[in-house]
Assembly symmetry: C2
């Protein structure tokens, strides 16, 4: 029996490439470092029970919720929404909906998770579709970037909402009072960009957020802003381009070090440094993208996450819940609408 | 007196961060490796003459065209177009217009160069604005990507034209019969992307080009296509994000190697390998972006190019001229219009 006072995270244990072998150890590691937290492990009892039994000291803070089904990684979101009502993904979200958990985490099918999160948790008033907001490393720390989901045709108003949601996420997770928000654009000047982006710049300047103006592509990694907003098309390209470039550079560096006996010896000497370098940008540490704009917390882990990476996603969900990210977004949106109403009144007066 | 048979490149010697100190040595190095080529050095005679005098053996293939003015790097394109009619940039383009040169190269103000190129050389029939097409390294070689210029609000038809122009540039510079063309998108399936991109996919599939479908951000660096088309906003973000990430990784790697005495010793051992690695992605080797869609050849060098980099831009201009890139684009556009007319007839029949 879990306590009703503690923060409880619902974990879809069947999602991702490795299922319970990764998700359960990650959940247990999370419990070890978070004394007050609880988890509900959602999935096939027969698979989860033996793993949980290995840590009897944590059993009081973990319970299993049996789920017969799971969403396949290649299942269409629409079909998953219709047919997978008893899936581990769906039951984990139901727990959040019912208030039995304060956040859910899944490494499953992204499209299905977005569709189900939206259907089960519902959108906040005035928000159309959830935005996907990962965290990425920069020269100076990290940046929250959104949308990296499926919002490919965004209006200026959408970009403004992304700014609000991203800022409140940064405020909740990093305890920043006024996180800086930048608008991804192709130049520093206000007149740069396409019509939607120009209009979004205007809205953001009058939003009450700590808006620092345009950020160019290289500014993301320079750490020019705590939050960078863009539409889902541009965001996806920026993320994938980064992945592709990093992969190319890593592979080429390896090739150079493996070229001949001499370079292999050099590699041996450089290995500790290279390991340290790699750890600095370890994508596992940045695992866990927040689905924002919902009436509850849903965090998406990478499908190929290992236990370390999946634990990071759980921690992110826990921090978002502890620091009331949904309430912060609601309050900020209400403030924004009031501000806009006052401005409209002034204009009409 | 230059020969009227040889290919002549008009060089704006005053543009860029370093002016004649870079542009003239680059031009002379170019002449040394291209026996049949000629150059017109456009700029202040007093600055150019002493540099040219150092290589009397090349004097027969180089002449100076005096220009009193130059376009400042921060000058507005509109004002430059209006006020800088005697600038080195403008006179170099005039030479191409008059047929006294077959291509021009400038490291000057990008916006001014685009405006002047368009005004002096004029657009090809059916093309609205010039596209900027740089070449970038990939895992397997290199890729031409366009537009990376100022075309931020592109129609599907524009993206189709970029496909034609990029393919013909790759055909001319790399001697490929049917360069593969990919459409930058956020998924492999035809239904992915925003409305403009979906429509562009349809046009490209029926274009007669070797269209391979969608390419995702990471596919650019995997070398999935010889040419990748996208609108100028997305292209700019992709390029700047790449610059920012590469810079962050390079700087961090350096920091790791400089951490302490031990890591510095490791750096010493790894230095030859790191140098080789760096050379492999030396951005100087990729200098020289082609302005496409014009009735003549105009190549933009990076403003901070050194002599090696600027020479690469000259070579690219020379190859484009020798291999008739403008004529290829014209022919391919004519073919495309015929194909579209036939398809429209069929639909109406």
């Amino acid at each position: 029996m879990l306590s009703s006072d503690a923060i409880t995270i619902a974990i879809d244990c069947m999602g991702g490439d490795f299922g319970p072998a990764v998700t359960v150890p990650a959940a247990l590691a999370f419990l070890r470092t978070h004394d007050a937290a609880q988890v509900v492990l959602v999935g096939k009892t027969a698979a989860l029970e033996p793993l949980l039994a290995q840590c009897p000291e944590l059993a009081a803070r973990a319970r299993i919720l049996h789920a017969d089904e799971m969403v396949a990684m290649d299942e269409s979101p629409t079909l998953a929404l219709k047919n997978r009502k008893k899936s581990s993904m769906r039951l984990a979200l139901n727990l959040v909906k019912e208030g039995a958990a304060q956040a859910s985490v899944s490494a499953g099918n992204t499209g299905a998770l977005m569709a189900m999160s939206r259907f089960v948790l519902k959108m906040l008033p005035g928000i159309d579709r959830p935005a996907l907001c990962p965290v990425m490393p920069t020269m100076t720390g990290h940046v929250y970037m959104l949308d990296l989901g499926a919002n490919v045709d965004c209006s200026a108003e959408h970009l403004l909402q992304f700014g609000v949601m991203g800022a409140m996420l940064a405020a909740a997770l990093d305890h920043k009072v006024a996180p800086s928000v930048g608008l991804l654009n192709i130049g520093a000047e206000e007149i740069k960009g396409n019509e939607v982006v120009k209009q979004a710049g205007h809205l953001l300047r009058n939003s009450g957020l700590n808006f620092i103006g345009n950020v160019e592509g290289d500014g993301i990694y320079k750490g020019e802003a705590d939050v960078v907003v863009c539409d889902g098309f541009v965001g996806n390209v920026a993320l994938k381009v980064s992945e592709g470039l990093a992969q190319m550079l890593a592979q080429s560096l390896k090739q150079e070090f493996m070229r001949n006996l001499l370079t292999r010896l050099a590699a041996l000497a450089a290995l500790p440094v290279l390991r340290h370098f790699k750890a600095r940008f370890d994508h596992r540490a940045y695992n866990g993208a927040s689905l924002l704009g919902l009436r509850g917390i849903s965090v998406k882990s990478h499908g190929s996450a290992d236990a370390f990476a999946f634990e990071r996603a759980i921690v992110r969900a826990y921090e978002a819940a502890s620091n009331h990210v949904v309430e912060r977004i609601s309050a900020c949106l209400a403030d924004l609408h009031e501000r806009q109403a006052v401005a409209a009144d002034k204009e009409n007066a």
